[in-house]
Point group: C2
Chain length 357, copies 2
Amino acid sequence: VNYAVMMAGGAGTRFWPLSRQTLPKQLLPIGDDQTLLARAIGRVAPLAPAARVLIVTGEAIAAPIAAAFPEVPAANIIAEPLRRNTAPCAAVAAKILLDRDPDAVMALLPADHVIRKEDELRTLLAAAFAVAARSDELLTLGVKPQYPETGYGYIETGDPLDEENSRPYFRVAAFHEKPDAATAQHFLDSGRFLWNAGIFVFRASVFLRAVAAAMPDLAAAVAEIDGCAPPEKIGAALARLYPALAPTSIDHGVMEKVRNILVFPADIGWSDVGSWTALRELHPADPHGNVGQGDFLALDGGENTFYAQGGVAVAVGVEGLIIVHTPDATLVARRDDAQGVKRVFEEFERRGWKKYL
Amino acid sequence: VNYAVMMAGGAGTRFWPLSRQTLPKQLLPIGDDQTLLARAIGRVAPLAPAARVLIVTGEAIAAPIAAAFPEVPAANIIAEPLRRNTAPCAAVAAKILLDRDPDAVMALLPADHVIRKEDELRTLLAAAFAVAARSDELLTLGVKPQYPETGYGYIETGDPLDEENSRPYFRVAAFHEKPDAATAQHFLDSGRFLWNAGIFVFRASVFLRAVAAAMPDLAAAVAEIDGCAPPEKIGAALARLYPALAPTSIDHGVMEKVRNILVFPADIGWSDVGSWTALRELHPADPHGNVGQGDFLALDGGENTFYAQGGVAVAVGVEGLIIVHTPDATLVARRDDAQGVKRVFEEFERRGWKKYL
């Protein structure tokens, strides 16, 4: 049976002041009225309804997530006691699902990305579910690159295989970490490389065998979890096991080390929404290049990016800025300095302005 | 007896989003924790305590003003039904005070300016009260100009008279409207011109005689007001009389047309707080030229002007901007385009965003 595992553990400091310590990016309505997590759950519901959704998140936000998604069974909301990147998250989810359903096939999905072509995503996921169910392969979706991005990992395609759901797929030749600019250009030009969007589909049992081969310590740890136990017992097991786990990504810890991986090239309108500038991909621009979400107004000037929540953001005569309004904080930043937002936190800590974090 | 008449009728659209239709500039805490009106009343209290303060304001804000200043008698809060500039305001106030006290000497004071040297203001007002009480002269305070401002009217000094309270004063040679740049420079260089800050002191009876000579229609209108009548009757009289009054400033309508005016040069740290950029005169700058009121943070960049109410305003890597945060609106404007804020209103009207006005 098919399951969807939502990886919803991110902190999302880059979306301050909209994101806060207890309101990370996946719980924000970015690009849409719904939160990114709600959208992520909704778009796969035809393949895996809420009863078969597992949400893996952090302890600080597990309760608000449970309240926001009453249709997801309480036993399916897994709170990690510490942040340990995606490999432990995926392995814990696989073990829990396997204990509950020996035939579980799971899609592992980041909960804080935007996917505009949802029909195509479902077509590809359905194809991957089908291949995963009948084989001992790990499946992934690789996004067709639009430009030589250096901030993403890449998936190198190998031999073409067949089609499923009318979509071609390939054996994976290799996973590559973030490239330098020249390499990224080479990847783009070759036509054989895809962006690694962190979307995987596999049988839980097959994945756990890969974990046992690539990360035996992690495999031993998750073997101690009884996925059928009540949530408190699972929570206690995670609290005991997590401190000893090394933070490792599923790509680096598992996928780069195993051979049985297939990939579907995906044209799904994907964005990882990495910073405020990503809003420019999610909303149409006015004739002066202003883009935004919520009530905003730009007079003179242009090329500004707005987000207004609970109020209005107005710019007069300014260019190329990110302007964010929330009821208790305003951010104005140069568009090419979207990462500088991180430093705001250090200064707030120094000043004791925790109420704004 | 001495009275203080606060002209508190301004709309203050230039301080949007802090100012709103029912929260004009004089009711804002600019440069200080107190509102400009509270500060204006407080600074003259040693000369004219609250019982002898008359506040002339607009109907929309009379009730909040009455609530904010319970120490000012209800009969002393005069709500103008229409905006008719300062000459009607001054004449109405003079008639009301004269009816209540034939010897009334009144200081006419804008309620939305900043005066940093309050001791010196009181010294000069006390001097002006004394001269006004014993003579048939109109007194004014003229601010010593700091630079060739083209946005203010000027007062040209004539013959020196004497000293009062150790402060010299002069006969006024002429009132001049806002000059062009060359004229303003000439005014500054000559040393004989002062900024017209709209601060006047006179016996009510003497001023009403000047009004009778310069603006007989206005004099005839205010003659119909019974200053000793209950507030509702005064309100009804104003409602009947105001529509026929021409909007006229006290300078243009009266002061430019009469000869019996004396002026005290005033070094009182005066600012008319004409736009957001005035905050730069009211608060110290950090080493990067950032200035502000409320919780604000500037990383990189500089020369920014902040006002944060009910939250924090943060700028990363930007220069020369005005950044204002309120709970339901954010404004970002180029510092040299502070007047552009006015156009925001037109666009808001067009969009039906009245909730933000």
